[in-house]
Point group: C2
Chain length 155, copies 2
């Protein structure tokens, strides 16, 4: 992409999600991070950890949603925002709908595995019971660079 | 449905999944159960528990997959079968693909929330990295009756 890097600072939740993504890379996991915010307060942070946890469901979004729901003592995350560095896959988009996340912010889009604007387009299915507001592109260059560097170093 | 109830016994993993579904109903959860089998041995059983666990991702399939992966110490459930009483949703179908489940057996189909033969059709997306063999309809009357009874009693 030839777009200039934005000069304004990222919203704090996306900076935190990117920090989680960097922590994932340092742990040898694909660098994706996620943060749940309610009423302006971060209530859960997580990074992608399927290898470390021996858990194929341990994507950043799933872990952050589970932690937030545990923190609130409620299976529904009403009025919560999820900030994540990559477009969610079908599993994570489904979890976002089940959790009733109000707003989804993701950085980089993912034509290969994303299921919001690609592939299964989970929120666009008539049977989807809850569709969050969706905002994308915030911090996408930083998020995509982390992924590119991670995979380049492993080739 | 006016089809006669089959007289042959159900395969043992589906009987166990139905027993898990009944346990869910007794716990006040939507009655869905799942079992993971490897080499003919049951390595994980679970029932739907989002309310009890305060976890929107705690569908029977997700819990069974997580338990099986922990038992094997591997994020991938190669050569494993998942037996579940209802057609998986988008979240669970995504998890099944991530876990590399070899064969999926489900009882009742779910036009409202299923994402295998309905809606998002997760395994039919070109970007889906792993598609299990899929078998459906085994024990569907028993599975559907459990759900109907559960929702009728709560109306």
């Amino acid at each position: 992409m030839n777009r200039p890097t934005p000069q304004w600072p990222l919203p704090p939740p996306m900076s935190l999600a990117l920090a989680q993504a960097r922590a994932a890379a340092e742990a040898g996991e694909v660098p994706i991070g996620a943060v749940v915010v309610k009423d302006g307060v971060v209530i859960a942070e997580a990074h992608n950890s399927p290898r470390d946890l021996h858990d194929p469901t341990a994507h950043a979004e799933i872990l952050a949603i589970r932690r937030a729901a545990r923190a609130l003592g409620d299976e529904r995350l009403a009025d919560c925002e999820l900030w994540v560095t990559l477009e969610p896959c079908a599993m994570c988009a489904g979890a976002i709908a089940h959790a009733r996340i109000a707003r989804l912010y993701y950085a980089a889009s993912d034509p290969k595995g994303g299921a919001v604007e690609h592939g299964a387009r989970v929120f666009d299915q008539p049977q989807c019971l809850h569709r969050p507001e969706v905002y994308s592109g915030i911090g996408e260059d930083a998020a995509a660079d982390l992924l590119k560097t991670f995979f380049r170093e492993r080739r």
